[in-house]
């Protein structure tokens, strides 16, 4: 009787959990590969302990003080195992689940994309914590060996979590496509991300050694910005990828980008605060908004090239009736034109910020030029996106992203390659060939940044006129 009641209690409790999370946990613990990784992790750590004991015994030193080395090795193993189990596990499993459309639960059940992604992320997080728990005895041993403080151990353990979660989220995003070949792309991306993190930690260590000041604040800022932004973007893109084709897929992505834009001044203020008064808060906040805005406009424009042209009947039905509401919904709704319009608004906001830096901030000229250049880079992205949208509206045989890739090859890679080759074999100055690339003249002629700030908007405006001529071409979709 008690057993039955207990079972009923467990059932009722499990009903409150995300079904995807339950499935993920069951699969994790049935998967031989994952169990093997955990077994190897335990074995390696045991071996490490044995080797360490032999080494210390051989040199007749005391154990005390070798905890930092031991913890370093445990943390490395922990990070690797967490990456393999949580992140690689996510991408492999989700790719397999999405590969066959007819068997894909995101298409045959009523689970929302949000629930699916949260279930998978929660699974990855629990497995990472489980791996931490597996390593806990060795961490405790490392602590008693001395040489490392508890707070430092905690900090390292916490620092491992965000990259693992970002990698898991990136894995989910790649898995959404359900293509095996993309797994290779994922590994490449993760490798680059790993290099980036290693580089950053190297930079932190170097600055710490040179300045002798604590970089804790910088590190927190780094995590908050460079981890949260890709995590959030990958999450929003995953929701978009899992939503049905004619749903308002881009709403979460655009909401996220705008929210990130609104938070950028906080980043500038934080940098000013961390600089101990060397940087003024106002120009820092404006500069962060301008640069962040340019980046977000570029992302938004590029994504627009990957979208359907028209929001469609289903999305338009949810729009408010008044003009202002309709326009705001248009900006946030799926459809290439909404993305392009939002990008233009953000670029204009960047221009306003640059103007403010020039006019109201004393000595803000240099920062203003920098913001202007970033805005020009965003204009180049708008240029490629608008050309792609125009081309896909006219030649519906290929989707916008094909034309976007074609445009980037034609306007960026070919000029770069041609310019590089000419520079190698001739003495001619052929940098003018780079006018269709964001690199333009600024890279080769210092001080000519304004040239780029003129060419970028010129190309963007010209392609906007072209794209606008085909505005009506994408209508009448469901």
């Amino acid at each position: 009787m008690a057993n039955a009641m207990e079972k009923k209690g467990v059932r009722d409790w499990s009903d409150r959990l995300n079904p995807v999370f339950i499935k993920e946990m069951r699969q994790y613990f049935h998967n031989r590969g994952i169990l093997a990784v955990m077994g190897v992790l335990l074995l390696v750590q045991l071996l490490m302990l044995v080797v360490m004991q032999l080494q210390v015994a051989g040199s007749r030193n005391e154990y005390f003080g070798s905890g930092a080395v031991m913890f370093g090795m445990v943390a490395t193993g922990m990070a690797l195992a967490a990456f393999l189990v949580s992140a690689v596990g996510s991408v492999l499993r989700f790719t397999a689940e999405r590969r066959d459309r007819e068997l894909d639960f995101s298409r045959i059940t009523t689970l929302s994309p949000n629930r699916i992604i949260w279930g998978k992320l929660l699974g990855a997080l629990v497995m990472t914590i489980f791996i931490y728990a597996l390593c806990l005895p060795f961490i405790v041993i490392a602590y008693f060996l001395r040489g490392i403080a508890m707070s430092e151990m905690l900090l390292v353990a916490l620092a491992i979590l965000p990259p693992v979660l970002i990698a898991s989220q990136a894995g989910i995003l790649i898995g959404c496509a359900g293509r095996r070949w993309l797994i290779g792309v994922y590994f490449g991306g993760m490798f680059l991300l790993g290099l980036f993190f290693l580089g950053f930690f190297g930079f932190l260590a170097a600055s710490h050694a040179v300045s002798g000041t604590s970089s804790f604040g910088g590190m927190v800022l780094f995590w908050c910005t460079f981890c949260l932004f890709p995590f959030g973007l990958f999450y929003a893109l995953s929701v978009a990828a899992l939503s049905s084709r004619y749903a308002n897929r881009m709403l979460p992505v655009r909401l996220f980008l705008v929210a990130a834009l609104l938070l950028t001044p906080l980043f500038g203020l934080a940098v000013a605060w961390l600089s101990d008064g060397r940087i003024d808060p106002l120009p820092a906040a404006l500069c962060a908004f301008g640069v962040g805005g340019a980046m977000i406009a570029g992302i938004c424009a590029t994504l627009a090239a990957f979208e359907r042209l028209d929001p469609g009947r289903r999305v338009r039905r949810s729009w408010p009736r008044n003009r202002v509401g309709k326009f705001v919904w248009f900006l946030f709704s799926s459809g290439a034109w909404g993305g392009i319009a939002l990008s233009w608004l953000v670029v204009l906001a960047t221009g306003v910020v640059a103007a403010l830096l020039f006019t109201i901030v004393p000595d803000g000229g240099r920062t203003g030029i920098a913001v202007l250049c970033w805005g020009a880079v965003a204009c180049y992205f708008l240029f490629y996106a608008q050309l792609a949208v125009w081309a896909s509206a006219h030649w519906k045989i290929l989707p916008g992203w094909c034309f976007w890739i074609f445009g980037v090859i034609l306007f960026v890679f070919v000029p770069l390659l041609f310019c590089g080759l000419l520079a190698m074999v001739t003495e001619m100055e052929v940098e003018i060939l780079l006018v269709t690339t964001p690199f333009c003249l600024a890279l080769v002629k210092p001080g000519s940044e304004l040239v780029m700030a003129v060419f970028g908007p010129f190309f963007a405006l010209a392609s906007l006129a072209l794209a606008a001529s085909s505005y009506r071409k994408g209508e009448n979709k469901p």
Binding site: D15, Q27, H30, A96, L103, I108, T109, Y246, P478
Partner: protein, 319 residues
């Protein structure tokens, strides 16, 4: 529940896989979805199961659009594909439990639904097996159980009998009969037409993406001029195959009779006469030939099944 497929269109590049298909069926009906390979059956079924979206047209489930509200439609549709994932890390009961939870079944309701579905599809013996270790027949049963776990009003099945042994086919037929009696609307595609004939109330026949014929079996047989199965109200039409040396004269003589609606001279030289009114009119019609002194070497009352109907309606061309 009424399912209406309206002017469905779907193209892949230059190929029009589904070209303006419309048909409807309702609760309690078992409809066969028939067509040669490459006819567009799976594409249509996928769109009906919300796995794909049409370029134009719609599928309405009691008025709810599969294009505009796929999430709502999924609540009432159970889709059984012709395959099951080969996961090595999930057991049969876990797989079904996941789908039950995904469709919002909670607590005792979920436990009861899973127990009933396991019993109905006879999965008790394999509930702890991993999906990758199942045979084709077992997988089909798990697939059916998965499609039924949320008790959908509509069941869409893609080649459910493919790869099954005779016993499993008989079991599947029995299960489908029960489900139909429970009031479910069932659409199933299959190549085994003789089996469909025994369980289907109607059929939809497509070829090269176009609808050739749709309706109840009686309607289809009448349309094709092959007599009826059991519809007393339908105008009975009988086909008779006649072997006669003088085909042209025989054809003209037959057409003089008011009950003869059409006479076709087939490629093998036989005459096919369609007589409206029933079997009792066959002797007087044949009597006209004998009375005219035409050399009739033999004749046979032709019975048309789904296979004959299919062969008669389709040309066998693929896109």
């Amino acid at each position: 529940m009424k399912i209406q497929v309206k002017n469905l269109m779907r193209s892949f590049g230059a190929t029009r896989a589904v070209d303006d298909i419309s048909f409807e069926f309702a609760s309690g009906n078992i409809f066969g979805f028939i067509g040669p390979n490459g006819a567009g059956k799976t594409t249509t079924i996928r769109m009906m199961a919300t796995l794909d979206l049409p370029d134009s047209g719609d599928i309405l489930y009691d008025g709810v659009s599969a294009v505009d509200d796929p999430e709502e439609v999924r609540k009432v549709v159970g889709y059984m594909p012709d395959s099951l994932p080969d996961f090595r890390d999930i057991q049969v009961w876990e797989y079904l439990d996941f789908f039950a939870r995904s469709f919002g079944l909670r607590g005792e309701r979920r436990i009861r639904a899973l127990a009933e579905i396991e019993e109905f599809t006879n999965l008790g013996g394999i509930r702890y097996k991993y999906l990758a270790g199942l045979s084709k027949g077992m997988k089909q049963r798990v697939s059916l159980a998965r499609a039924l776990v949320h008790n959908p009003a509509v069941l869409i099945m893609d080649e459910p009998a493919a790869g099954l042994d005779p016993r499993a086919r008989l079991e599947l037929r029995a299960l489908l009969k029960i489900l139909s009696e429970q009031g479910k609307a069932i659409l199933l595609s299959s190549h085994i037409l003789s089996e469909l004939q025994d369980i289907c109330d109607g059929a939809v026949i497509i070829e090269k993406g176009k609808l050739l014929s749709a309706g109840t079996l009686d309607e289809l047989l009448v349309k094709a001029g092959g007599g009826t199965r059991n519809a007393p109200d339908a105008p009975r039409q009988v086909a008779v195959m006649i072997q006669c040396a003088k085909t042209q004269e025989a054809r003209l003589k037959l057409l003089e009779h008011p009950a003869v609606k059409e006479v076709v001279i087939r490629a093998d030289g036989e005459l096919q006469a369609f007589i409206e009114g029933g079997d009792e009119l066959v002797p007087p019609v044949m009597g006209t030939l004998f009375a005219a002194g035409l050399p009739v070497m033999g004749f046979k009352r032709q019975s048309i099944g789904l296979e004959e109907l299919f062969m008669r309606i389709t040309t066998g061309e693929v896109q």
